[in-house]
């Protein structure tokens, strides 16, 4: 039995956990991070890699923009660029109806100071001749970017470790108690930790922890399916997304085209598996070929997914527990946690060290699930059928 004492214990070594650890350590906190597998093993490491600012939940822009500023200096922060590239992001509509929706998203982005280019059909043909003629119009945001998710979480974890954070991998929390304004944790590796505060950022596995403290959220696990092609000559510069969600793709300078598409796949957090049904692979391939006809001769060579927590309103839980002082939640990132990861870590560090943060987090309170929850329109689009809410890991 090893006994550790710390200011903050972080449960979950995904992107949120490692950035929280990093910023807390920068503020002089003693931090222990516990990860059941290895850092960044699930959706933090297996997502599409988009740092997309267009089309986000309106209440999330202050957080998103703050986070993007951190991404833009990632190499300075952690000494590794993790293939960060300011690729820009093209959001395209295939009909006039869809175009109205894209323009409405753009109006929200612009109201938060983001520069959006509005490209009509002629502009599109001229700028992106490889895009299908069926693309009706698009908006383009130059500040949107991409990075390699496989590399980021381990790299941030290494930087946090360099700042003194204790990172323990392959270690499950088996016990979490509170009393006298402090917490004690025990793990299946015989480790026990006494600490003042706890961050619950255990992803698809976070609900069990919240429920221990009489809080709940209709969290369920799912996997974002991802596909990659063989290397092709590099010709697609921006990250591209169809507003109907059927296809999202980007080409890396090595030449591979990474693609993703809805609906998402079911995931099994007990067996730790998120297999991609082959019908989804074929559908994604058809959608990419339709969007970029020049890629039809290109081959898909690899498919993967990872497990992530989703909520029906398609926005995460971020902020303090409403029942237990010293406990903070950050989970249920619904497929868009990669971009806001650094920002969430920074905000949590401020909440813990300063007791407050300048970034509005009220929309993300866990308290919103006390009444009936309305499913977001994105939710209906991104899943085959409404999965059993509260499907506990």
């Amino acid at each position: 039995m090893t006994r550790l004492s710390a200011d903050v214990a972080i449960i979950g070594g995904g992107l949120i956990g490692v950035w929280s650890a990093y910023f807390l350590a920068k503020r002089g906190q003693r931090v222990v991070l516990l990860e059941k597998d290895v850092v960044g093993a699930q959706s933090s490491g297996t997502n599409f890699g988009n740092l997309r600012l267009q089309g986000r939940f309106p209440g999330q822009y202050p957080l998103s923009l703050r986070s993007q500023a951190l991404w833009e200096q990632i190499e300075t922060l952690i000494g590794d660029a993790c293939e960060f590239e300011a690729t820009g992001h093209l959001y395209f509509a295939s009909s006039e109806d869809e175009w109205r929706k894209v323009e409405a998203y753009a109006a929200v982005s612009e109201s938060h100071g983001l520069t959006i280019e509005h490209l009509d059909h002629v502009d599109l043909r001229r700028r992106y001749p490889w895009l299908s003629d069926k693309a009706y119009a698009a908006t383009y945001s130059a500040r949107d970017a991409t990075a390699n998710p496989r590399l980021v979480t381990p790299a941030v974890a290494r930087a946090a470790k360099g700042l003194g954070v204790t990172i323990v991998e392959t270690c499950r929390v088996t016990e979490l108690r509170t009393g006298d304004g402090a917490f004690s944790l025990a793990t299946d590796t015989g480790l026990s930790i006494d600490c003042g505060q706890v961050i619950n950022c255990a992803g698809a596995w976070a609900l069990a922890i919240a429920e221990q403290f009489s809080e709940t959220a209709p969290l369920f696990p799912a996997g974002p399916p991802q596909f990659v092609t063989e290397p092709f000559p590099y010709f697609i510069r921006p990250s591209v997304q169809a507003v109907d969600g059927t296809v999202i793709f980007r080409q890396i300078p090595r030449g591979n085209v990474i693609l993703a598409g809805y609906p998402r796949t079911a995931a099994d957090p007990v067996a730790n598996r998120a297999p991609v049904p082959l019908a989804k692979t074929l559908a994604a391939m058809r959608h990419l070929g339709a969007a970029v006809p020049a890629l039809e001769s290109c081959h898909v060579i690899r498919v993967w997914s990872g497990i992530e927590g989703y909520l029906p309103d398609m926005i995460p839980v971020i902020g303090p527990s409403l029942t237990t002082p010293g406990l903070f939640h950050a989970f249920g990132f619904c497929g868009h946690g990669f971009q806001i990861g650094p920002g969430v870590g920074l905000c949590l560090s401020e909440l813990i060290v300063d007791g407050e943060t300048q970034t509005p987090l009220a929309p993300f309170s866990i308290g919103r699930f006390t009444g009936a929850v309305e499913a977001d329109e994105k939710f209906r689009r991104e899943f085959d059928a409404t999965p059993a809410a509260g499907n506990k890991p």
Binding site: W130, P231, F235, G255, H299, I301
Partner: protein, 116 residues
């Protein structure tokens, strides 16, 4: 990669050597624009490598490659046609009139891959 193509073009050394002849219909096709003769049922790989030293260039750094496993497993013999098709050379028979390329088609030229 253009300089690599030039360097290879000056060196017409074939990698594969025909040990036994084949009876069959004689056909012609092109490799990098050069017309060559083949016999129906020759593989794309055998045709290219009995006429030259390599099949393709690796996407990462451009080193020459000539396939490896010769049985459809290693995927190191995918070549281009001038029409932008991809062929796995070791398992694809040649057809009359094929326009095979050991470099990708000219992506910089006006066409579907053109970028501003």
């Amino acid at each position: 990669m253009a300089d690599l193509a030039e360097r290879d073009a000056t060196r017409h050394r074939a990698q594969l050597v025909r040990a036994v002849a084949r009876d069959g219909r004689a056909i012609t096709l092109t490799i990098d624009g050069r017309e060559v003769a083949a016999t129906e049922d020759d593989s794309v790989l055998a045709t290219i490598l009995t006429h030259g030293p390599r099949l393709r260039h690796l996407e990462f750094g451009g080193e020459p490659r000539a396939g490896f496993c010769l049985m459809g497993a290693c995927q190191d013999c995918w070549v281009w046609t001038a029409q932008g098709e991809r062929l796995r050379a070791c398992t694809t028979p040649v057809r009359a009139g094929m326009a095979l390329l050991t470099l990708p088609p000219a992506f910089a030229a006006p066409g579907p891959f053109a970028t501003p």
